[in-house]
Amino acid sequence: MTDISEIKLTNAQIAWRAAQDIVDGAYVNLGIGFPEMVAQFQPEGRQAIFHTENGVLDFGPAPEPGQEDWDCINAGKKAITVRPGTAFFHHADSFAMVRGGHLDVAILGAFQVAQNGDLANWSTGRGGVPAVGGAMDLVHGAKRVAVVTDHVTRDGQPKLVEQCSFPLTGKGCVTRVYTSLAVIDVEDGHFVLREKLPRISMADLQAVTGATLHTDGGPADLIVPETL
């Protein structure tokens, strides 16, 4: 069996792939951390408009170190910048955008995604301090909810599962998962494999996936820039 740690995509490559599905002018919310990388890989000629929960739309990239204005941050509490078109608003208006279905895409991380679209990404249920933030709002608000994630956990357990064992963030909300090995859609309670790395076999991919991978015609090759 292939050692998937040798062939899997980097986070940057996963983010790049997710970025290819965002159309010009889309309103997009990127989860804190890894999902934020998606913003770096917008295809030439496309410009998404990014929303952050704490009340900023159409913000610019991080400022140079030392140039931060700590009144101008994103949901991850990282400094961002103003650019032509930026708008500020309060938290109720910000989540009106989210809950009201005005975002085209939300891209989030995941502990687990189930074949029915259930998402677990806020708590491993193992004690510690619970913290949910805006994830539960985003998963029921954006027109399309996608996940970027490693295909398996650090200790090799599947993150794509028949049923989530961790506490849910939302039910039936995820429609596409970009993993380190594949692009998988959630359709009618099934995982449908859309793209996979050419260098992994169907059998090996199925072996590290916790639920049956359906195909709808042959999956396409998942091809990303080598150098990311």
């Binding site: 410009q47 929303h51 032509p84 989210v98 009201g100 005005h102 975002l103």
Partner: protein, 235 residues
């Protein structure tokens, strides 16, 4: 991305018969007269219109009603200085009317934009307008359950817009316009000025562009109050 459209006709071109259309404004203040007149020219009929009022004189919403385009009106206050058009249609049974308390109308529209399917309000409890609506008690007081209100289109009048649809308004002409922009599937804006991106201070944006789909510039827009004093009739 550029949401500007060069003509009023183009801005309203895709509104089909039977559409629900929110129209901003409180009386004439903030009423998007040029968009309404473009909709009259365009010809869509059998419309459901959501507005605070029911038109005044023979321009704007009154003209749309007079042209027989409005099947149903949802409003709080169908009275005006010259309500002849609406009154005649209503008494002849040619238009349906749903009366909603003004604050409930505003909150239902805001709820539509904010993804809140229902909420409770003390307003109208114990009155005829609460008939048939669920009642629930919270902390010893009775409240009425009201549902969100959404529409296929919103016609919005703004003062200033940029190409991404960020908007400001002029004085009390703000009224229902920002919340209607939130609650419609497609929000069409007439702005007195379109400025380049960055031309609106990010702190002064009232409606962020995410709520806006199309912007058309109408410099020196007409005021309903002034037209009516001149006895104007559209078309």
């Amino acid at each position: 991305m550029d949401k500007t459209i060069s003509s009023l006709a183009g801005a309203v071109a895709d509104i089909p018969d039977g559409a629900s259309v929110m129209i901003g404004g409180f009386g004439g203040s903030g009423a998007p007269l040029e968009l309404i007149h473009a909709l009259i020219d365009q010809g869509a009929r059998d419309l459901t219109v959501i507005n605070n009022n029911a038109g005044n004189g023979h321009v704007g919403l009154a003209a749309l009603i007079e042209q027989g385009r409005v099947r149903r009106l949802i409003c709080s206050f169908p009275r005006s200085a010259d309500p002849t058009v609406f009154n005649d249609f209503y008494k002849a049974g040619k238009i349906e009317l749903e009366i909603v308390p003004q604050g409930t109308l505003a909150e239902r529209i805001r709820a539509g934009g904010a993804g809140i399917p229902a909420f409770y309000t003390p307003t109208s409890y114990g009155t005829d307008l609460a008939e048939g609506k669920p009642v629930e008690e919270f902390e010893g007081h009775a409240y009425i359950q009201e549902r969100w209100l959404k529409a296929d289109y919103a016609l919005v009048k703004a003062e200033c817009a940029d190409p991404h649809g960020n908007l400001t308004y002029r004085m009390a002409a703000r009224n229902f316009n920002p919340i209607m922009a939130m609650a419609a599937r497609r929000s069409i804006v007439q702005a007195s000025r379109i400025v380049p991106l960055g031309g609106i201070d990010p702190e002064h944006v009232v409606t962020p562009g995410i709520f806006v789909d199309a912007v058309v510039e109408v410099t020196n827009p007409a005021q309903e109050e002034v037209l009516n004093r001149e006895g104007a009739v559209y078309p």
